[in-house]
């Protein structure tokens, strides 16, 4: 049994890199899927709205860890033995898509209905109206909560440790198993998470302030 050395710290830093990689992977995939969920949630056809609403409810009502187990262990039964990072990214993508889809649905619906009417009265199609009129306005509203949600995603990547993906949490466990200095090792891991999350939280808040003080259409 030895002390915590620079080698250990570099190992944690490397694992932090994997945490960032997994976060970005999950977030990018989750944004793409979340966009589709948002489109489905605001669709004209009632059954599309209903079905996507069910999807959102199921995912939001299921622990992310269970989703991860289903994908990692469950799919293996059917012959899909996914690498841990793929299973983790897929699970987080599903998680992101449900939450981001719902956040963005709210933002799209908060753009006044009259904007859509004005656009359609000018002869723009539904898709052109969404792209040129609704989404640019919704995106400004959506940016602060979306960046804020990125913090949740980043912290939840720690769950990937249970399927053996060596990110920051898993790396800390490995080191602690040999050093038995949980306060020191997990304390450092916690600080590293904080160092990643805190700037994002601040950014989210700054964006919100900018939004509230920024351009507003008079009634």
């Amino acid at each position: 049994m030895g002390g915590f050395t620079l080698t250990h710290f570099l190992y944690l830093l490397q694992a932090t890199g994997w945490t960032v990689v997994l976060t970005l992977l999950a977030f990018v995939l989750g944004c793409l899927a979340g966009f589709l969920v948002m489109l489905a949630r605001t669709a004209q056809a009632r059954w599309v709205r209903g079905l996507s609403g069910l999807y959102v409810d199921v995912v939001q009502g299921t622990p992310l860890l269970i989703v991860l187990f289903l994908i990692y262990f469950g799919l293996a039964l059917f012959g899909f033995e996914l690498p841990a990072i793929v299973a983790a990214a897929l699970s987080l993508m599903i998680y992101c898509s449900a939450f981001l889809g719902e956040i963005w649905r709210g933002c799209v619906q908060s753009v006044p209905r009259t904007q859509t009417e004005a656009s359609e009265c000018l002869g723009l199609s539904r898709w052109q109206t969404l792209r040129d009129v609704v989404l640019p306005q919704a995106m400004r509203i959506a940016t602060p909560p979306t960046v804020g949600f990125l913090v949740q995603v980043l912290k939840n990547t720690s769950l990937a440790s249970v399927v053996g993906f060596v990110e920051l949490t898993r790396a800390s466990q490995v080191i602690n198993n040999s050093l038995f200095q949980p306060f020191l090792v997990f304390g450092i891991a916690g600080l590293l998470y904080f160092a990643l999350c805190y700037p994002l939280s601040r950014l989210s808040r700054a964006l919100e302030r900018k939004l509230n003080g920024g351009r507003r259409q008079p009634a």
Partner: protein
């Protein structure tokens, strides 16, 4: 000549409430028709049915030879013929005045950017706002925003224009500058259907006035009918309004 707009026995319900109870009227090409009446008389709803912002339960609506109540109607084709200006302007706040005006020409007609810009300059000149072409809506007064909204609609060269209480959000001074633009349009031969509370405008500019009451066309006639109301309802409306 065939009517530019015609409504025949139009019925419209919102749930249990019947807001239009058999409305019929026509607007001839080049004619300016003002619809007046109390809040809740159905005048705005009638207007919104004309370009199918609302669908109707029964009756017939025709606009420039096109059946508006046809479920298979090509909505985008309809809206190339008819422009609309709203009480709340509804400019796109994230776009400049030029972008507000050129969006539809560029997207719907595929007008090249330089040509679209030229159109924007031309319609802005018509509403007297050439110097505001690169401003954002929030930098303009209410009256200026409404004039930009009119210009935006003009850029698509509609055959008929609908005005839905376009001065109701403005103070008297700003109301004047918007009405002046509308009067110029009317003199230029534009077919206009104008829902308004401006009795002076209705009397002076409109070729015909329609008084709506409880979902029906109650009284109709030339602008001078406002000086000589036939029904007690119009009499009362005018007495309270002026």
């Amino acid at each position: 000549m065939a009517a530019a707009v015609s409504l025949r026995d139009v019925h419209k319900r919102f749930g249990e409430v019947e807001v239009l109870k058999g409305v019929s009227f026509e607007v001839a090409p080049g004619e300016v028709v003002a619809i007046i009446g109390r809040s809740g008389s159905g005048k705005s709803t009638a207007l919104r049915c004309v370009n199918r912002l609302e669908t109707i339960q029964s009756g017939e609506i025709e606009l420039c030879g096109r059946r508006v109540d046809d479920p298979a109607l090509d909505l985008r084709a309809l809206r190339r013929d008819v422009g609309m200006v709203f009480q709340s302007y509804n400019l796109f706040p994230h776009l400049t005045v030029a972008e507000n005006i050129t969006l539809a020409p560029r997207r719907v007609r595929r007008t090249p950017p330089a040509e679209a810009r030229r159109i924007a300059e031309e319609v802005l000149a018509r509403v007297g706002l050439s110097d505001k072409i690169d401003a954002y809506p929030e930098q303009l007064s209410g009256g200026q925003q409404q004039r930009v909204a009119i210009a935006r609609s003009l850029a698509m060269e509609p055959k008929v224009m609908l005005f839905d209480e376009v001065t109701s959000a403005l103070d008297p001074h700003l109301t004047g500058e918007v009405l002046k633009v509308m009067e110029t349009l009317a003199k230029g031969g534009m077919t206009m259907l104008v829902v308004t509370h401006e009795m002076a405008f209705a009397r002076r500019v409109a070729d015909r006035v329609i008084f709506m009451h409880t979902g029906k066309v109650w009284e109709t006639g030339p602008g001078s009918m406002l000086a000589d109301p036939q029904t007690p309802e119009l009499k009362e409306f005018l007495a309270n309004g002026l």
